[in-house]
Symmetry: C2
């Protein structure tokens, strides 16, 4: 379990460095051995139908995955970039956006860290879902690359 | 060629109905027989590296495609939703986001309109690119559904 103080510090970093995350009011609310949870309220993220805007949903999923890699790294001298992603919008999200990025298996995390340490570059594929009303409304899969500066 | 007044009206509609588009300062700048161009300046859309945030890029591409369907429809009693999309981030976008959504072939547009008129529902797959410095930095492909209310 990552302490709340570090989650709040990471949220402040995102807001300071990536202005859209502040406009979205995105906030990292939890990270444990299962994964990372990011919340973005509906009010600044709704569309013309009153449900969550597709662009906000994809940005929230990207951000949840990005934040998980950032917190896994424990190394601030690493750049993380998204290389590609795919997203399915299964049902409208008619409330706050709650994105959950699944933590990869321990062996994948170990490989990722080893690869970064030895080659200065490593890739990780991450899965994220957004649930609402007890069902999965959005599935997201993205490939992220970490590069030693 | 769609008149500037209609593009400006559509931009105002987006800003009024989808607050994130206003935070992004997204603006439809052109639509003709080739496709639709949408601009979002770098300042509100940058990331921690000074280039465009992945979430802003995917939102801009989604929005360019969405706006093209909206302007193709010429029917305000239709709901448009994005069903799925995939995006490749080939190079960082180190300036304003300029998204270009290609207009589908005339026969695809005719099929789409016919399907919507007869069945009340129609699907369209759209391609969008984001260029910077004379090269394609982002490719996006999305499936959109129009539904008669």
């Amino acid at each position: 379990m990552i302490p709340d103080s570090l989650l709040q510090e990471t949220t402040r970093f995102l807001h300071a460095q990536i202005p859209l995350t502040q406009a979205m009011e995105a906030e990292i609310v939890q990270m444990d051995s299962w994964g990372l949870r990011l919340k973005a309220p509906l009010a600044p993220n709704h569309n013309h139908l009153g449900s969550a805007f597709g662009g906000s949903l994809s940005a929230a999923a990207t951000l949840a995955c990005y934040s998980l890699v950032w917190l896994l790294m424990e190394d601030r001298s690493v750049h993380i970039v998204v290389k590609q992603s795919e997203i399915q919008y299964l049902h409208p999200v008619e409330g706050d956006i709650l994105a959950f990025c699944q933590r990869p298996q321990d062996d994948e995390v170990a490989d990722f860290r080893l690869c970064l340490a030895t080659r200065g570059k490593a890739r990780l594929t991450l899965n994220c879902t957004i649930e609402h009303g007890g069902r999965i409304c959005v599935t997201f899969r993205g490939e992220f690359v970490a590069l030693r500066k």
